[in-house]
Symmetry: C2
């Protein structure tokens, strides 16, 4: 069984050779870092992932979580406690947190790589860890100094756990229908929270002495819809003046989900204020809760793409190793049945399935790293223009990371299972669990259709299409460079054509919106994101091929020559297979396909 979680050669290629992430250390905020600190973090993360996270992968699934309802006591696997302790020891909860609050202040690009590694080993486990930083950053960014002092460092150091509490049973994705209420207390600076939140990942556990819930709720008299939602910090246990954990804050865990996968993670239904004693503290200004929460939601969306793709990475290396070790059949041209069977990797169709996986994992990892790199620029660049451009590109890429990452990864794991044959259907091998774990990613943190609507409805037209234009400009630069390299010219032409097709299709759809057919415009978004995403990933793989080709020309060692050649041919495989389907999707949209819009529900 493979214990390669992630190809670290590829991680370093993306960070150092493709993105040149060291340039971030010229920004003041990251000035204490260097390639050396980056490498130490990456190596340590991999070691921990392999030695502590990964051995717990199957046991945590088998054991699941439990809840003692009578005592409101949630329990997670003992292996998770070991991971938590090790993560705290290495300050992994705080990898990208500001140093003033106990964090390591690494660039997000480095922490994206670290999260990818930890997710690859055990994503249900990593969720507990990542959610500390998510809640911490939300409070750090928008809360009062007082709240920051109480919560931020304890979250970044993993002393306390964190969540995000948006969904309610009756409302699902429709946040405008959030009903949880927050009533100002008569005797203090807090609010009394009442309501139920469901599908809360990391919602309860016994890993930390306290759990901090950012909760969306409505103040009395708040406007209807999303404009009347405020954000509150609601601890499981109240915090004493000295910062220690105080009395129970009336947050009851009403139950947990019996899930297809991610069974090691506690997905809770939380009941706030059953006894009328649940105190919450307003985070930022009233009625701006959703705006604030979008910071965390956007992080969570990119994190979801990372979860999916990293699991696909682990699955890919399992399939790769299995394909080398499993001997079966003969070459298609070999007619003599007495010749010995060959390793199945020698069958071209197995290599086809492995290439689907390799292209997905490497292409989407590049996308995730690029998104994080852009976010680092948005955060730390001294140039206002660069910050704005970075923000626009990041906004555009966020739904792509989530939706395309989650779907492509799932398809890749299916290919890994297919490489295993019958053993892929067996729970005695970890691939079945990987498939189960990954099924939620197209659903949670905003369904993939919400991502599609976000991309076409908000992100593409944002600021007159400025982000879109910036992305196309960056891709066009790569295309020009690739076109000057003989070996890459056919690929450059295909990505060039794809950019043109996506542009034309976007204009076509804008025309539909212009005529007022918002229904067809938004409906088309589901197909649009399927067209847009391979354009982005195809571009990033072409960019990688250019870097690899140049490195080959400069001269490289034997292992690197193989790596670079593989990189170039992976780009070729992806582009040759995906761009024709990108065109097909464009064709569907250009024909104004609207059968589902006009389909009467009684015809089903």
């Amino acid at each position: 069984m493979s214990d390669t979680l992630v190809n670290m050669r590829d991680v370093r290629f993306v960070l150092y050779e493709m993105l040149d992430v060291e340039q971030l250390t010229k920004y003041e905020y990251f000035a204490d870092h260097s390639r050396e600190t980056f490498d130490i973090a990456l190596d340590a993360a991999y070691k921990l992932a392999k030695e502590v996270f990964w051995p717990a992968y199957v046991p945590m699934d088998k054991q699941g979580v439990s809840l003692d309802t009578a005592n409101n006591k949630a329990t997670v696997a003992k292996e998770m406690h070991e991971i938590w302790a090790a993560a705290r020891e290495g300050n992994w909860q705080g990898i990208s947190g500001p140093a003033e609050y106990g964090g390591q202040q690494f660039p997000g690009t480095i922490s994206a790589a670290v999260h990818f590694i930890q997710n690859a080993a055990n994503t249900a486990a990593h969720m507990y860890i990542g959610s500390c930083a998510g809640a911490a950053r939300l409070i750090y960014s928008f809360a009062s100094e007082e709240l920051k002092q109480i919560y931020v460092e304890k979250l970044f150091t993993g002393q306390w756990g964190g969540t995000m509490c948006l969904t309610e049973p009756q409302a699902g994705s429709s946040l405008s229908d959030v009903k949880t209420t927050a009533v100002p207390a008569k005797d203090g600076d807090y609010y009394l929270i009442t309501g139920t939140k469901c599908f809360i990942s990391n919602g309860d556990h016994d890993l930390a002495e306290n759990i901090i819930h950012p909760v969306l709720a409505r103040l009395p008299g708040a406007p209807p819809g999303v404009k009347g939602i405020s954000l509150f910090v609601v601890p499981k246990y109240r915090v004493n003046d000295d910062g220690s954990v105080g009395e129970f804050n009336d947050v009851i865990t009403a139950g947990f989900e019996h899930k297809l996968g991610l069974k090691g993670n506690f997905t809770a239904t939380l009941s706030f204020g059953d006894e009328g004693k649940c105190r919450g503290w307003l985070l930022g200004e009233a009625n701006k809760g959703l705006t604030y929460m979008f910071q965390l939601m956007n992080e969570a969306r990119i994190a979801t793409g990372s979860q999916a793709t990293s699991v696909a990475s682990n699955a890919f290396f399992h399939a790769l190793e299995y394909s080398k070790e499993r001997f079966q059949g003969r070459r298609i041209t070999e007619k003599d049945p007495t010749t010995p069977p060959i390793a199945i990797i020698k069958h071209a169709d197995i290599r086809r399935m492995l290439l689907i996986q390799k292209a997905t994992v490497e292409g989407v990892f590049a996308l995730l790293a690029y998104a994080a790199f852009v976010a680092d620029k948005e955060h730390a660049s001294p140039s206002a223009e660069e910050r704005e451009n970075a923000n626009l590109v990041l906004e555009l890429l966020t739904p792509v990371c989530k939706a395309y990452g989650s779907e492509a990864a799932y398809d890749a794991i299916i290919q890994a299972i297919q490489c295993y044959g019958g053993y892929g259907f067996s729970e005695d091998f970890p691939l079945a669990q990987m498939l189960r774990d990954c099924k939620v990613f197209p659903i949670y943190e905003g369904t993939n259709y919400m991502q599609a609507m976000d991309l076409l409805g908000r992100k593409v037209p944002m600021k007159g299409g400025k982000g879109f234009q910036a992305l196309v400009a960056a891709a066009t630069k790569t295309v020009k460079e690739a076109a000057s390299i003989e070996q890459l010219k056919p690929l450059a032409e295909k990505i060039g054509a794809a950019l043109k097709i996506v542009g034309e299709t976007t204009m076509h759809l804008a025309g539909i919106a212009g005529k007022g057919d918002i229904e067809l415009y938004m409906y088309s978004s589901a197909t649009y994101i399927k067209m847009f995403s391979p354009m982005v990933v195809g571009w990033l793989l072409l960019w990688q091929a250019v870097v690899a080709k140049k490195a080959l020309e400069k001269g490289a060692g034997e292992a690197d020559v193989k790596y670079y050649k593989g990189k170039i041919e992976t780009a070729r495989f992806y582009i040759n297979h995906e761009i024709p389907h990108l065109e097909a999707n464009a064709q569907i949209m250009k024909s104004n396909e609207r059968t589902a819009i006009d389909f009467d529900e009684e015809w089903f």
Copy 2:
């Protein structure tokens, strides 16, 4: 929760309005049947499926199967015993068996519909039942009169169970490497069998007093490869001269698979002849075992398409009901958040996901029924020419039923889960189990790449492409008819174009094979079947649209008007979405895409 397993209106539409299955009763073999007996069987099958099969669906998954190794005693759920008894009472094991051996001698088209219904309710359960008939028909078709008298009726009446034993641990799909041996006994008409078979569905259980294993094995001195494989009838318990069950035949159940799904079905590893006492009887002639087994394998491949699609049918009706009952969000054009939420089926994207499911379920059911209808003609037509044509078309459609059926159904279930949102990831609803159950179908009974190779490597070129031409001729007839109907003209044009593209691509690939590049030719099969299948299903849906349109013109009741309109628009949805991707796949093949062939395994 939905209890609609299958749309019986659609089943009857396919059988009576599209295929005119009653015409089969003019053949002597089916002369005792009529529309009346068909309807009685369909209604009874549905009632049994709903009342007995379906309630056991979740319990059988939860309970799984067990094995008492010390006593070689396999046990399945008590619910399965109830199903078995009910199935025997209705003689469902023998639905298509010849009357002289206790069967009901229904046309295969009717039994295809019955199997679809029973699979939709509980496919793990139906496997036990269907495998009786599979083994029975194999013995009936090829064995000596003596063996037929011993086994066939007991299998068709479900007194004994049946299996098919092909796969061995070291050989997997590579049947030429089968190692199980059969040595002629010195003291009788039997052979001593020694070997291990794995992944044997229905391989052991306590449903019947005996289990009959058709086993592939080699005789001493047999030629290497598939030309040296013989087929043996190996009962779990020997049969006394009076037909009663005799002593144990040294067939040990070494274990069972811990599977992702189909947990209610006992997937065994069987050890034959550990004590040197396992007797088998040669079925037909020596060294022709694989030829015989292909009858059963082809049945099993079509059955696999049925399993997958029927589960997708059940999932679809769950998603449909959920989409009507779940209220969330507002129309995209509704800006007032105080208006009440709407049923999610009113969102166009939900209808898009439902239409993917509906088109898949109805399109592939039509394919399965058409394949069975063609098989009935092959079996019962008095015309030698019609029998040959039917055989060729059936050969061509078999890998499409299996590969496309299994993949499209899986994708459809994913859409059903997406309609459920977070609840789709919960094991408290049956969709997660449906997804788990369906993951094996692209793998077993010959992986989908084996189906692809079968289609392009054997079936398309068979007899100079005669089957392919017959299929294209049938589809062209539909296209011409549809082209004369204004509403269907655009769809007719698209299917017409698809036929042309598939023809051209086939010629292009034949040219590659002609130049001796067998590796590229066979490699292309994986893409070829993805192009070929939507052509077939698109044609069948167009055919249905023509029938529906004519029925509408003749005048129909209110419910039928809705059904027919839905039928036409389902064809439109499928064709508009799938044909552009068919073209994309053709484009990939025409560009001689071969990156994976040339990709060095050390580059991964």
